[in-house]
Amino acid sequence: MTTIVSNTDLKEKFSKAFEEAQGLKSQLHKEAFDAFQNMGLPGTKTEEYRFTPIARLLEKNFNLDEIEPVPSGINSVKDFLIPDLDATVLVFLNGFFSETLSSSINNIDGLKISKLESALASGEAADYFQKLLKPSDDPFTALNSAFWQDGIFIHVPPHTKVEKPILILHINDVVDRQSIAHTRLLLVVGEGSELTLIEKSNSTGDHSIFHTFAEEIAVKENATLNYIKIQNDDGKLHQVANSLIHQSAQSILNTFTLTLSGALIRNNFNIAIDGEFCESHFHGLYLLNGSTLADNHTVVDHLKPNSHSNELYKGVLDGNSKGIFNGKIFVRPHAQKTNAFQSNRNILLTDTATINTKPQLEIWADDVKCSHGCTTGQLDEEALFYLRSRGIPLENAKAMLLYAFAAETLEVIKKTELKNYLDQRISDRLAKF
């Protein structure tokens, strides 16, 4: 990957912060920082970040002389929970795990949840940490790996069906000042186990937020993971998440990423299908307005034969919002009998909203079924007229058509309370268009 340092000043500021910071002295931190120094921040000439000017926004919106974490006075997360959903709640405040606001993590049936640092110290996490996401993979993985101070390690032991979903709340408190945070997640779903994990980001206050995530997830043989991200932060959130899910044989993955708000949301979401007879349902929905920029860079890598992946990302863009979708599918030479499907469909509601969509399929095996398609259009005028001619007002008719368009992506959600919640968020947003 060729990365051009857009601003040496920015790099120097991160250097200074790194040197001054306490607690970032481990060999891994240092190696990661070297990787970051080598890559620098991506500029607009960096292919992977062409449409997403993160460096410029960091420079413009943040005081990078003060990048140390800030404390928060939040003492309740009630407003950020998902109504009616009985879940194990893990709370991060400005990037730090809050034991007081989280559910007790010591006595959860069959589950091991611990702070990442202690899991590394005890050796439990060593087999996985920085094995799936390497600092050199992406400048923000490097940045996160250099600067991370807190994270969570979740281990579902083999043959454990975890009934209660885990809800991770990433709350940024920027009432007084900006927040810059780097959070890590390490999740192992053991052989034959099942888990639903929901990540949700929220904030209070008007100052800017820069939040990076590095998330490494291993789904073992015959395991099932339902993984939902809810990105509905009304604040000035600039977020770069690097997530890699590694699937072993016969595992099932259902993902859904809902992006509604934020200043800049970049999801680098990779799935490595490293076993036979896996299933991956990889869904995303972005319903954007204002000047939100949402960039989904996805990779589905078929490393072994006989697996099935289905990627469906849809977007509705209003106002001056920008959407970017990049979908890479790799089918490795010996990954015969792979079924890999990808679809990205977009509706633009204004002349000033934009979408850049790019499918990239690289198929080396010859006995596979692969397809991809991307469409960008407007609301179907004829369908709108049809609904209106039956007495349905324009606003309702629009919302009805948009809902019908969007709802398909929700098919991967099985849990009723969660589905209702997502459904409501989607309907609320569509009613504003």
Binding site: R388, G391, A404
Partner: protein
């Protein structure tokens, strides 16, 4: 009920309606016939409020209200119903949900309370019989994958649910085989009362054997050039539209 006076309309730069005059009273069935491109479907679309057409002159009164001032959905609430020539397929929206939303909007406009699920289903079952349509079809996405006949029956089903004052059937016979035509026509006939009216837009006389009109109008080059009783349709059938064209050319 409906008074159309000197109505002129165009799409883009093309003038299509060049001064239509038409008066429809409650209890009447009017047929509008004419060769292709004469403006039949345009007239139906303009009455229903399709926005691609620009009205350049004249006026339309519907129950003394200025119809052209109303948005398409308000026209529907006021009692205008257009049965589409090409009903739109809308994936992801079931006919049942769509009809429930529509009907309750219309009821709200009329000052009637919303129907609850039970009452709605009951009404639906009753109206389904009228057009011999199956419930499984209505649970599916609106018109998606429906045959031509199923789409047209769905149109008449919706008409039965909504009970409009004025129904405009735009080429409802196109693409129908004789059995489907009979079912659709039967449905329309059963819905006729002395308080509502129907405008049947058609190219062929065939449909008018089943839905017998009180008046027949011949549209040519955006004007009604001939009006008469149902026998005019038969005359057109035997003489063909060239008869009208020649008559207009010599006039």
């Amino acid at each position: 009920m409906l008074i159309v006076e000197n109505l002129k309309a165009r799409i883009g730069e093309k003038e299509i309606l060049n001064g239509i005059n038409l008066r429809v009273n409650a209890g009447e069935v009017h047929a509008i016939m004419g060769p292709n491109g004469s403006g039949k479907s345009t007239l139906a679309s303009v009455l229903a409020g399709r926005e691609e057409y620009e009205v350049t002159g004249g006026q339309v009164l519907f129950d003394d209200k200025n119809l052209l001032d109303l948005a398409p959905d308000i026209r529907a609430c006021e009692g205008i119903f257009l049965a589409f020539q090409y009903p739109v397929e809308i994936p992801g929206v079931s006919t049942v949900n769509f009809m429930k939303t529509a009907l309750n909007k219309i009821r709200a406009h009329r000052g009637q309370p919303a129907l609850d699920a039970v009452a709605f289903l009951q009404l639906m079952k009753e109206k389904m019989k009228l057009v011999e349509i199956d419930q499984s079809l209505l649970s599916r996405s609106l018109n998606e994958g429906f045959s031509g006949g199923e789409k047209k029956r769905n149109e008449i089903f919706q008409m039965a649910m909504i009970e409009p004052k004025l129904s405009i059937l735009d080429e409802t016979d196109s693409g129908l085989d004789i059995d489907a035509l009979r079912i659709v026509a039967n449905g329309v006939n059963k819905l006729r009362t002395k308080n509502n009216a129907t405008i049947v837009v058609t190219h062929y006389q065939r449909l008018l054997e089943y839905i017998v009109p009180d008046f027949v109008h011949v549209l040519y080059k955006g004007r009604i050039v001939k009006s008469g009783g149902k026998e005019l349709a038969l005359e057109l059938e035997s003489k063909g539209y060239d008869w009208i064209k020649n008559e207009m050319a010599t006039a």
